[in-house]
């Protein structure tokens, strides 16, 4: 674990519409690690997720985000994605008229073209994944997430239930194979069965080639996905970091325990 972390956030300050939301946040995530970032509403968790992915309206006022040792601050979201970063959205938007399959094939081909441009892939530019290969890949990953095959032909997130949307997010992650994935409140709005399916999907994908940052308000999902590290965020900073036991402590004591400033240790 001594190599350069895939994702390194250093003293990050972010303003949203002129108001400072992240106030000097630091965090490192390596491949093979599962981190949970917890915190009360309004602590800046989703702002962090969206900033990491490159949401244009969030302004980094100081600090640094390094991905595989390189700053991503000047990169657009699509470049960050192709470099190997992924975010599962808390509220995935609908793209009417664009089927899940068509969307995924386009996204996958965008990656392949880059690989080729870098000379690391064998695929000629503009040739894309062969349809047969893509269908097989899609079928395999959908089966993994217990998704009905008909979802592939539906319009992306259009009319999807909460559970379907979250599952579709994990499906995208499975197909795009990022090195670091941020799951922004992936557990919110899910009933227990859907939560289990999503968690199983995440578990099936984690391994030495994937690092995961799970952002959550509740520790519920952590009953299914076991984090190596738990961080608690309050008011734009990480207040405390620890092992899995920290999540359980939060569950029984609540976030007020941190706000009152007791037992605060700096990470």
């Amino acid at each position: 674990m001594s190599h350069v972390p895939e994702l390194a956030v250093k003293n990050l300050h972010v303003a949203v519409e002129g108001k400072e939301i992240l106030k000097g946040l630091s965090l490192e995530v390596r491949k093979g690690e599962i981190h949970a970032l917890m915190g009360p509403n309004g602590s800046g968790k989703s702002t962090l997720a969206n900033t990491l992915m490159g949401y244009p309206r969030y302004e980094v006022t100081s600090g640094e985000i390094l991905f595989k040792g390189k700053s991503v601050l000047e990169m657009e979201a699509d470049e960050r994605s192709r470099a190997g970063l992924f975010m599962a959205f808390q509220y995935p938007v609908a793209i009417p008229g664009v089927s899940v399959a068509n969307f995924l094939r386009t996204a996958l081909n965008a990656r392949r073209a880059v690989q080729d441009a870098n000379g690391t892939g064998a695929m000629p530019v503009g040739k894309g994944i062969p349809p047969k290969e893509f269908r097989a890949l899609l079928r395999e990953k959908m089966a993994l997430l217990h998704m009905d095959e008909s979802v592939a032909g539906r319009y992306l997130n259009d009319g999807f239930s909460g559970g379907e949307k979250k599952r579709a997010e994990i499906l995208q992650m499975a197909i795009l194979k990022p090195e670091i994935a941020i799951l922004d409140e992936t557990d919110s709005g899910l009933d227990i069965d859907a939560l289990r399916v999503v968690a199983e999907g995440v578990n099936a994908l984690v391994g030495p080639d994937l690092g995961v940052l799970i952002i959550t308000h509740y520790q519920r999902i952590l009953n299914y996905v076991k984090p190596h590290f738990v961080h608690v965020m309050v008011d734009g900073q990480i207040q405390i970091s620890g092992g899995p036991e920290l999540a359980l402590k939060l569950e029984s004591l609540g976030y007020d325990w941190l706000r009152e400033g007791k037992e605060v240790t700096t990470p």
Binding site: R80, S81, V93, P96, V98, A107, A110, V114, A117
Partner: protein
């Protein structure tokens, strides 16, 4: 460094859509319009006297009628600076082998032979004013289906032709219908006998290829009782500096129990005035569907319409308009419920960008006594930037109480959230925007034959390149 493969459509645009082969004409009328030219056109075609007289009368009507003051600006059209008739070869080609080599090159560039192999049963390809290539598969001929150029239709089936010609759109309908009636040339004549289902789309490609040449094709389709046909026309045009005029008339008669679908993809170059009158009459339990895509032209004014004459008639109009820089697309559809128990559905999608202007104009009329009618109108506009414009002119004229009428209109912009979402999956901004636009028109594109759907999406991608910054 990290870019997605470039869409090479733009680079090849001139080659694919902007080319023109050398002009080789057997006959060309002089510029301008008068009785002498109209008589000359009729004589060149060897038409019967009644058609010559019909043309001359239409010319009088054209001269009398004022230009429309609504819709788009047509005041700049110089009617005396246009060639109204150009005959490219002396003979109409009977088979592909007869088509002259340079025209074949044009068709090659358009992908016609390839498309034919896969899809076509018969190609009516209009090269300038005259159909030079026209082929019908033997099976269609055996079924008694007539698929000819309109000129040939008049020659070979005069009685049938005369019975229906001008009955749906008389010369007096509007100024441009009158113009077409006076100088029409080319277009298709189709007759589908009772009960015959033509299960492959009949297609015609045509293009404008002579500087300042007007294109005034005339199409007449008769679908007899219980018959079925799908006609597809697609147009591309080379780019010229001075303004061109395209003014077509399409008349369709859908007899009881019959069904007709008419699909158009219009991609005229951006100096063409595209002023077209399209109308169908549908009788008892007949269905008429217009699928109309408008991408090109300087100004398009086109409102395919359906008159439902007897109970059970159905109308469906799907239209897409894309208005880019310097373009005005005034499109939509019109339905007239002239009998009880008739139903209609209009779906219109428009996209405007770079200062383009897209308008929806959709009169719905229910005449007195046409009770238990149903009509739904949905028009959605997508505006891509502040400089662009979208207008909706719904127009309901309902003279009967017992009817169900629905009208919905939405105007939207491409959302930052949608762009960010797609970008977060590695898709670059231009491609993401194109994807959102393609999705927007998908409900209509999916109704197109596959090759047209592919072409439509590629054209949209081309139009969208570099559009978001």
């Amino acid at each position: 460094m990290t870019t997605t493969p470039s869409l090479d459509i733009r680079e090849r645009y001139q080659e694919k859509y902007g080319f023109h082969d050398s002009d080789q004409y057997v006959f060309r009328s002089r510029r301008g319009l008068d009785a002498e030219i109209v008589s000359q056109i009729s004589e060149m075609k060897g038409e019967p006297a009644w058609m010559r007289d019909y043309r001359l009368k239409a010319l009088e009507i054209f001269e009398r009628k004022p230009l429309p003051t609504w819709g788009g600006n047509v005041a700049d059209i110089d009617f005396q600076n246009i060639y109204y008739y150009v005959k490219p070869t002396s003979e109409e080609a009977k088979s592909w082998d007869d088509v002259p080599a340079d025209m074949k090159r044009t068709f090659d560039k358009l992908g016609i032979p390839e498309a034919e192999q896969k899809f076509l049963s018969g190609v009516g390809a209009q090269y300038d004013s005259e159909v030079v290539y026209h082929k019908i598969k033997e099976s269609l001929e055996k079924q008694g289906v007539i698929f000819l150029s309109c000129d040939q239709g008049l020659k070979e089936h005069e009685e049938l032709f005369r019975q229906y010609f001008g009955t749906v759109i008389p010369s007096t309908d509007n100024k441009f219908a009158a113009l077409n009636s006076a100088v029409w040339s080319g277009g298709s004549f189709i007759y589908v006998p009772k009960g015959v289902h033509v299960d492959v789309p009949l297609q015609a490609y045509f293009r404008i290829n002579t500087k300042d040449m007007g294109q005034f094709e005339r199409t007449l389709i008769i679908v007899d009782e219980g018959a079925w046909v799908h006609y597809v026309e697609g147009c591309t045009a080379p780019i010229y500096a001075s303004d061109s005029l395209h003014s077509a008339v399409v008349e369709i008669i859908v007899k009881p129990g019959a069904r007709c679908r008419y699909t158009t993809i219009q991609n005229w170059s951006n100096n063409v005035y595209n002023l077209v009158t399209k109308r169908a009459v549908a009788y008892r339990d007949a269905t008429m569907e217009w699928v109309d895509g408008n991408l090109g032209s300087k100004l398009t004014m086109k409102y395919p319409s359906v008159y439902m004459m007897e109970p059970g008639a159905k109308a469906e109009i799907l239209s897409i308009a894309f208005a880019g820089r310097g373009q005005h697309q005034d499109a939509g559809g019109k339905v007239v419920h002239a009998a009880p128990h008739t139903s209609s559905k209009i779906v219109s999608k428009s996209i405007s960008k770079d200062g383009g202007r897209a308008g929806y104009r959709g009169p719905v009329k229910v005449v007195k006594g046409a009770h238990d009618c149903k009509s739904t109108v949905n028009c959605d506009a997508l505006i891509l930037d502040e400089a662009s414009r979208s207008d909706t002119y719904p127009d309901m004229e309902i003279e009967e109480n017992k009817v169900t009428i629905g009208h919905e209109a939405t105007v939207s912009k491409i959302g930052d959230e949608q762009l960010f979402y797609l970008q977060s999956r590695g898709i670059n901004k231009d491609e993401a925007a194109a994807m959102i636009v393609s999705g927007f028109i998908e409900p209509i594109v999916k109704e197109l034959p596959m090759e047209y759907a592919v072409e439509m999406n590629r054209l949209i991608q081309l139009q969208m390149e570099g559009s978001v910054g």
